[in-house]
Symmetry: C2
Subunit: 458 residues, 2 copies
């Protein structure tokens, strides 16, 4: 089995930068373990832990990367004859070391290397690996929980991963190129009577054929108002809008994340088109606000204000847009944040919680809607974010007693009823912050209503 | 969101049978939890624990089924407003109860229901659920480890699941029908220059479009000699054989498991055809041995003997077939077992280890090859098994010092070298034991060499 090529220099540079940031503080980064599906040996496709993947670039279940005194060492289990029978010839340590440009040692020597050190770590997402981390470091390591000793390591990884190097951007552009093909295929496959699952399958075909994987569970649904809908057994009907939130992960693990909402018939109705154009205006206004130094929460508020303006113009919201946004009335229809960091993870570094998404000193709002904003940093060149405003008519929102006064005051239900053929619309792009503005990585995926209609009609 | 239809009576009957088998011993069966992929909220598609799914028929992450004094009660978390926003309207307890035909209570009342009882359980495959089981039952519950109190429950589930009811067979036939389409698509998609991943994508398209999921990680590889090859970045070349081991899981979770090996060019070479026909003869001979009362290890030995005979006829093995099989020489080329149980799991009930696959009093052989046999029970009507002999030239086997004497004695390496264009061939069918013999569920998938060639050439 040949080893998959990787950019050795880029990964070595990342390890060197981490070592420099850590100084004399040792660190241990796990690759993670296979996740069992219905029994131990039937596993989900292995996804390497993102911090490890960032530094090593290769899937090595069970491996650990140790960084100490400026040096990175990879600890792996030597392949057995049984491994070779079931999983093919394994590279020996010398071959692996040459491939990666990094020292490689046997995993069973790791306890000795760690003995007597105060080593920082980042908890794996899986409990099995956390148990191994706990045993190796003689302290409790739990998913999602940083010990004080781990915080400097977390901050170093955030510093590295917040802005993307050339190798990362090459991979992300590759993921986007696959996602473009997926959307073209999905739009082409859509027609009345087709199951959501068939459109999803047409999109995932492109992702699997490219050697990648879905970066997250695909949402392909005529019920776009269910924000994280993970069922696909519905059928596309003539008057429906189909919302597809699908992103390829590149073969080496970098994410893309795109949403489009298209008419099953190939034509938006006038009411669908009216709301679509409001969401599209919010998408464009928010993208226009992306530039170095901009605060991401302000990008969110730009989208919120554009949604509010559009809904006032349509008569769905009553009032003055700025006042509506201050009151949070836009969130009755746009309840989530305008986007998030994008990188190896689709919500990049969400394993570290708001430590990654929120700049020091900033915390989440408690206001409905704004509380779901996953990112509030000042943007910098090399950061990649999604921009994904939406409009949804969610029964759970209008049934929520806590939100009833807001709805009663600002929503014209009679006007809203005229837009009954709109349940959920979202338009999401991946945007790279450049030195003087922004580059929309996903610009080739149809977005203007006539372009979308043409792509659906084929 | 409409609930997906399910066969309420069949599931109620299964619960009643379990309750009858348990008598006054209470039992707790977990549905399992989402497995995180790269961070907690980015999860793999949820697969309900098979024992729970067998009894309830519906995916309900975090739920627990309690069976006590003849009654089954489902414990679930009530949906919150936040659930409704992100995941859509959730059925209330009354709707769920009516849908399932089973009492439904709030999960937070489960500790009270369990207090003071000695309740058996089966460990979930995920550690997070095992931790919840441990807390609920005040004892350590670990994946793959049965406590003495759990053994009667395990045996009851094995008794139920060993033979399939009508509802199960309907689902398994549905899975097979999807897998048939997947193989037709995969064969059609194969040509020189195509990546393995593109053939895999064509096959998985059919599975995803049908609303199912792959029952296990697809093997689609020109290196069929790597038994559990999980890479797909190779390219199909003119003279290669492509081995595809792919099975759909039905929308309600029942598995199929099929392997075919076809020529990339659309024509087997004479050497490939010669070995293919040996494996096919073993597949047919083993299937012919499947009947009520037959011991599965004998079915395996039938395949082994047919392989040995064929390889003797080709001059690859030297000696008398029965003696070769006794010595284990066939296992140099056919190192794995001829198959396993098939049901909700592709290796059905493998979470219970050999307790499920081996009849009481039978244990695994330590002989190379036979040690990998996953099933040794007497067959009974309603059981479903795979039959999957193969021929592989595995460098790791011929490099293994422990096997060198066997190879030196029985293998004619000069003759073997003439078959260098064969690395791995496997032919696998799903077979139902009937009252008077066997039914090959997968009979519509091309298997005779000319039929396979025709399907590849399209």
């Amino acid at each position: 089995m040949p080893l998959r090529p990787l950019d050795r220099a880029a990964h070595a540079a990342r390890r060197a930068r981490l070592a420099a940031l850590l100084g004399d503080r040792p660190a241990l980064l796990p690759a993670g373990a296979h996740a069992p599906r219905n029994y131990a040996a039937n596993v989900f496709p292995f996804r390497t832990a993102s911090h490890f993947l960032y530094l090593v670039g290769m899937p090595l279940p069970g491996a650990m990367l140790r960084v100490a005194r400026g040096e990175a060492t990879l600890y792996v289990t030597p392949g057995t004859a049984q491994d070779a029978l079931w999983h093919g010839p394994q590279p020996d340590f010398a071959a692996l070391s040459a491939h990666l440009g990094c020292a490689v040692r046997a995993l069973d020597t790791l306890p000795d290397a760690l003995r007597g050190t105060d080593t920082a770590t980042l908890p794996a997402v899986d409990l099995a690996t956390c148990e191994r981390q706990s045993a190796l470091l003689s302290r409790a390591v739990r998913p999602g929980t940083l010990a004080p000793i781990d915080e400097a390591l977390a901050d170093a990884m955030i510093a590295l991963r917040l802005t993307h190097d050339t190798a990362a951007l090459t991979s992300m552009r590759s993921a986007v190129a696959t996602t473009e093909r997926a959307f073209a295929a999905g739009m082409r496959a859509t027609r009345p009577g087709v199951r959501e699952s068939a459109v999803r399958a047409a999109m995932e075909y492109e992702i699997v054929a490219a050697g990648g994987a879905p970066a997250y569970g695909a949402i392909v649904s005529v019920h776009g108002e269910v924000l994280h809908n993970d069922t696909h057994f519905g059928t596309c009907a003539e008057g429906d809008l189909l919302l597809a939130d699908v992103g390829a992960e590149s073969e080496d693990g970098w994410a893309s994340d795109v949403t489009r909402t298209w008419p099953v018939s190939g034509r938006y109705t006038p009411t669908q088109r009216a709301i679509y154009d409001v969401v599209l205006a919010a998408n464009r206004a928010a993208i226009a606000a992306v530039r170095p130094g901009a605060r991401y929460r302000d990008v969110h508020m730009t989208a919120a204000r554009t949604i509010a303006e559009g809904l006032v113009a349509l008569g769905i919201l009553r009032g003055e847009p700025d006042a509506l946004v201050t009151a949070g009335a836009h969130a009755l229809f746009f309840p989530h944040g305008v986007g998030h960091l994008l990188g190896l993870d689709v919500h990049d570094m969400e394993d570290l919680g708001d430590r990654a998404g929120y700049a020091p000193g900033r915390t989440r709002s408690t206001q409905f809607g704004l509380s779901y904003l996953r990112l509030d940093r000042d943007l910098a060149p090399g950061m990649c974010v999604t921009i994904e405003p939406g409009f949804y008519v969610v029964p759970a929102i209008f049934d929520d007693p806590a939100l009833a006064p807001l709805a009663a005051q600002y929503v014209d239900r009679a006007v809203l009823a005229r837009f009954a053929d709109v349940r959920g619309i979202r338009i999401e792009d991946d945007v790279l912050v450049t030195d003087d503005g922004a580059e929309v990585l996903t610009r080739a995926i149809p977005k203007d209503a006539p372009d979308v209609e043409a792509a659906v009609r084929g």
